[in-house]
Symmetry: none
Subunit: 388 residues, 2 copies
Amino acid sequence: MRVVVMGAGLIGTSIALALRARDADVLLTDRDPANLRLATDLGAGRSLEGAEPGLAPAGEPRPWSGDAPGPASAGGRAEPGAEPVADLVVIAVPPAAVAATLRDAQARRLGRVYTDAASVKSAPLAAARTLGCDLGSYVPGHPMGGSERSGPAAARADLFLGRPWALCPAPETAESAVEAVTELARACGAEPVRLSPADHDRAVALVSHGPHVTSAAVAARLAAGDPAALRLSGQGVRDVTRIAAGDPRLWTGILRHNAGPVADVLDAVAHDLTEAAAALRKLGAGDDASADTMTGLLRRGNTGRDRIPGKHGGPSRAYAVVPVVIPDEPGALARLFAAAETAGVNIEDVRLDHSPGLPVGVAQLSVRPQEAERLSAALAEKGWSVHG
Amino acid sequence: MRVVVMGAGLIGTSIALALRARDADVLLTDRDPANLRLATDLGAGRSLEGAEPGLAPAGEPRPWSGDAPGPASAGGRAEPGAEPVADLVVIAVPPAAVAATLRDAQARRLGRVYTDAASVKSAPLAAARTLGCDLGSYVPGHPMGGSERSGPAAARADLFLGRPWALCPAPETAESAVEAVTELARACGAEPVRLSPADHDRAVALVSHGPHVTSAAVAARLAAGDPAALRLSGQGVRDVTRIAAGDPRLWTGILRHNAGPVADVLDAVAHDLTEAAAALRKLGAGDDASADTMTGLLRRGNTGRDRIPGKHGGPSRAYAVVPVVIPDEPGALARLFAAAETAGVNIEDVRLDHSPGLPVGVAQLSVRPQEAERLSAALAEKGWSVHG
């Protein structure tokens, strides 16, 4: 299978890496040469330009980027009746650039089937219709993996493992095209979920866009907070505000294309918070009956939290974690990894937790479960303080 | 050192485990015999009742629990002038039960110094003053580790490792008592932070209680959501709503004692969300100027998020990140760290992004900014593929 991935940002490069792991031939393109170089260095595929030099004048920068929107410029145009370059084209660019990128890709006859990865679906589809794109070969899509980080350096082949991948065909979309993109989602380890573009947009307002803005509003409170107050930050506020680190311009671009459904969610959350604030003030003044309003909201929170489906077992959860206390000094990690190597154990992931003011930290080593015991024993034998 | 921990819930048992790891003699008590048995089985200490049978009539249930508030009943009363049972007494019960538990513990002369672990500080201190407790030996405290889970089964010796531990002495509190509790916090691996009870309560409204209620309000939206919509839930909404799984009754008990400061935070968040909703509706209707309102809130979110202190209490973004492509094989990280050591650069943090099935991954090395260039050059010279 040959796939063209347009936009070598976080999403595009991650899809490319997942496909490369299944031996697909992946051709990459990005308007930013640095993104493209990093993605190809990571083994995400070959440059489309290098592979198919006839398709576009050499040296012309590609008009697509996975990270930032930019004005689309027309690429080359294929001979009429030419064979498509690839079986499938994945358009991993910001929502505002999807339709123009699709139009150009179809003009260049880059693929038999086209899909995109934008977080909103109604607006890009409407724009593609307006631009006269062929909708029969276009399957609007949205792989739901993501990160507060962006760019190819943050890409991972397992970004979509066990995650939902929305498929939102237009009435015109051919069933065979939907099948091809369903296969793509499965190849990336994701779970295809089919729903209409409008249902998709309401759903992501609820489970993604609304939470994103709310996370930002909580974080915005911290912007004016006393530094002494911020020192008391624990894991809770870190989790609640993690996605508030996302790129503001990129996110405004997403939100504007899903304005109504997101605004509905934000108004409802604001209403609940205003009511909770009023109940708390009464409760603080001794009105015990107001406790029910507060507890009621927290209970609804429990119920909603419980309704989030469990993950479908990605390998990151399949690893066993071996915590090892290490001195906070140069070379300590090198010695630790050397000891693991001697034991023949591959460290799949590592997380360092330093203890402020203490001379030691904790390295959380993730390894395959069947190797955990061997690693623990080997490290303990060499004098490391192994826990758990 | 001998410590009495009253209340074997999540917090009390975790403190006890941390102290046991440092060979302290820990005596435990809880009004729920099951909690107490589980905590002692976990190695968190011995039962106070079993260890000091003279102190209370055998079989009388203790009036304290780390999980649920309950009416305090008087325990035994020590002989006047008797030696205290322990150096330190940690009261790990809900806010409403702190003052009565302190009064009873002091009547029984359980310790030289007393502290508590409740998430609010002004209200319990005021209640302790009203009950005529000895404030000279009492250091209101708040270890900031926590979890959405509760009970001794969720306890961990490292729950407070690297976390802030607020110390909020009253004007009457003896400096020697503050020193003893400072030592306790350090023994648990935490970072003591001293501030007034009122400052503490405003701070936790900002970094803990406000985010908690907001997390619940986001989760509450999901309670009424379409199951198909919920299938699209990704990591973002999981993180934002993690703490919404907390115990509603326990949390209402906390929030009511910090009503004013929390209500202020909730009103401010609600205001920002209402404004964002209005801006989005205008933006969706084509008013491009409203994008600034939306982007402005997201940018303030970035700023606030950046202000959450990272490791060693420093700003979270103080480190430069050097991404290096590494082969996914045993020894690769060991070689990489050895190369960094040779260059004399201390790796402050490392994050490994593997691509399952691919022969390479990316190691994100965090180093002091002034060392990033030297590290990049040193690694590149040794043939590593350094990016950024």
